[in-house]
């Protein structure tokens, strides 16, 4: 099957310091991928390179086998196909919950207001936030904000959603409500790349686990297999540190 996203020898340096040291990755349609690794290993940088929030230093990012680096595809159109959900939510503070989900559709996709609203309501209902459409982000809890952010992402009807530690900024009691939504999406066949420290989610929900260490993919494979029998020493060390 055709790859949705392909990373080819992706490298990224910040002022001369190499953070990503050559990442190769192929992501198929409907795949749910968990990206794990210790803090500072380059997970966020990889996601941000995929949707071009960071400028790639060398290598290539392909979307359906077309380079998004060399301008084969319009960047903004590409971004609207692979939207991102952030650790800090990044909801638009000047808009209501509903507007957060409607405005990107009308502005970026050129949908009519009615169509956009209907679509937004569908996903706000899905994440259990339909009651709060007139609230402002500042009035919501972290878990609610993240669910709205997911609804905003879904409202674009993207092919892929990139999640960058979507539950790391949440109080523990709110992690569950967000993970539940994500689990549901995974079950429906959405293509997802999830950077996470939720090992249970990585093991039980994803189709593949990617372990990143010091800017390279150190090990990857079937989640059950990976968590039961990590092959590399670094993965073993990471898991034993994490699970204890």
């Amino acid at each position: 099957m055709e790859n949705v996203i392909t990373l080819k020898n992706l490298k990224k340096s910040f002022s001369g310091r190499e953070i990503l040291k050559g990442i190769d990755l192929e992501i198929k349609k409907n795949e749910v991928i968990s990206v794990i690794g210790s803090s500072g290993s380059g997970k966020s940088t990889m996601l941000r390179c995929i949707n071009l929030l960071e400028e790639v230093t060398s290598g290539d990012v392909l979307f359906h086998d077309k380079s998004v680096i060399n301008g084969d595809i319009d960047i903004n159109e590409y971004r609207s196909r692979i939207v991102m959900v952030f650790q800090q939510f990044n909801l638009f503070n000047n808009m209501t919950v509903l507007d957060n989900c409607v405005r990107p559709q009308t502005v970026v996709l050129g949908r009519s207001k009615e169509e956009a609203k209907e679509n937004a309501m569908k996903y706000l209902r899905k994440v259990g936030m339909a009651e709060y459409i007139n609230a402002r982000p500042a009035q919501l809890s972290g878990g609610m904000k993240q669910r709205v952010a997911i609804a905003r992402a879904l409202s674009m009807n993207p092919e892929v959603i990139l999640f960058d530690e979507p539950t790391s900024a949440l109080d523990p009691e709110m992690v569950g409500e967000v993970l539940d939504v994500m689990r549901e999406l995974a079950g429906e066949g959405l293509t997802m790349i999830v950077v996470t420290h939720e090992m249970a989610f990585a093991r039980d929900v994803s189709d593949r686990v990617i372990f990143i260490d010091e800017g390279v993919i150190c090990e990857q494979g079937d989640p059950k297999e990976f968590f039961a029998n990590p092959k590399t020493d670094r993965a073993k060390a990471f898991l034993s540190r994490f699970l204890n």
Binding site: L53, N76, N134
Partner: protein
């Protein structure tokens, strides 16, 4: 006659002139501030356009050139007195064009204000959390869409006090435009005081008018600011699917704290 009697006499003889001057001062300050704000907005949007190594070379060079010109404009305007700018521009450009003096004055004050506003708006944009930009860019909005839909509404709200301040400054600083014979307040003061060689009472009248203008405007602006700040804590009404939404949100807010 004592000073007070002179003030009364000059006012009685010239009140129409003074009111007309007040009108012109207010028009120049108001239109100049609004136009200046629009100029500042456009400049700030241009100056925050991001470039990457993939931006094509012609666009890059063009942007560099435009930015250079904009920077020069801002530095020169901010680095020289408006009176000097007015004389040079008016006599070398607008007089040969036979442009109406009032229009000329408004153009001058607009471009002068624009340079200050560009910096104010830029400050407002910089003060907005980076996550707001990234949230917009990551979903496919381009620079201008990000600015208009997400960043500027927040930035403008934050810089409202500075914009109001520019208006007050313009009420006072437009006085230097009497140099190109605009019949604003200062010009009227000179005229009225000149008839009897009595500048002080004429200028006292002018000072009182300026003070009333700036004082009133400052109060009004403060009210507007309060209104704007207040809308953060508005109530949620009209939720379509849940009559208790307001209660839910209140609860959610408490939990979050």
């Amino acid at each position: 006659m004592n000073l007070f009697e002179w003030i009364v006499k000059l006012w009685e003889e010239n009140w129409e002139l003074f009111l007309n001057g007040t009108k012109n001062t207010l028009i120049m300050a108001l239109v100049g501030t609004i136009m200046g704000f629009l100029i500042g907005l456009i400049i700030a949007i241009i100056r925050t356009i991001p470039t990457s190594k993939n931006t094509n070379i012609i666009a890059k060079v063009l942007l560099k050139a435009i930015n250079f010109i904009l920077n020069a404009y801002i530095e020169i305007i901010r680095g020289t007195p408006m009176m000097v700018q007015a004389v040079i521009i008016y006599y070398s450009l607008f007089v040969p064009m036979q442009l109406d003096p009032m229009i000329s004055a408004i153009i001058i004050i607009s471009f002068n204000t624009g340079a200050y506003m560009a910096e104010i708006v830029r400050g407002g944009i910089i003060s907005i959390d980076k996550g707001q930009f990234e949230g917009a860019r990551a979903i496919g909005m381009d620079h201008v869409q990000t600015m208009f839909h997400v960043v500027l509404p927040q930035a403008i709200r934050n810089i409202m006090p500075s914009i109001g301040n520019e208006f007050v400054v313009n009420i006072k600083d437009s006085s230097v435009l009497n140099i190109i014979a605009i019949t604003e307040l200062m010009f009227v003061a000179k005229q009225a005081g000149g008839t009897y060689a009595k500048p002080v009472p004429a200028y006292i009248i002018t000072a009182v008018i300026y003070f009333i203008l700036t004082f009133t405007v400052t109060r009004i602006l403060r009210l507007v600011e309060k209104k704007l700040a207040g809308s953060d804590s508005y109530t949620i009404c009209g939720s379509q699917s849940d009559p208790n939404a307001e209660i839910h949100v209140k609860k959610a807010k408490e939990e979050f704290r």
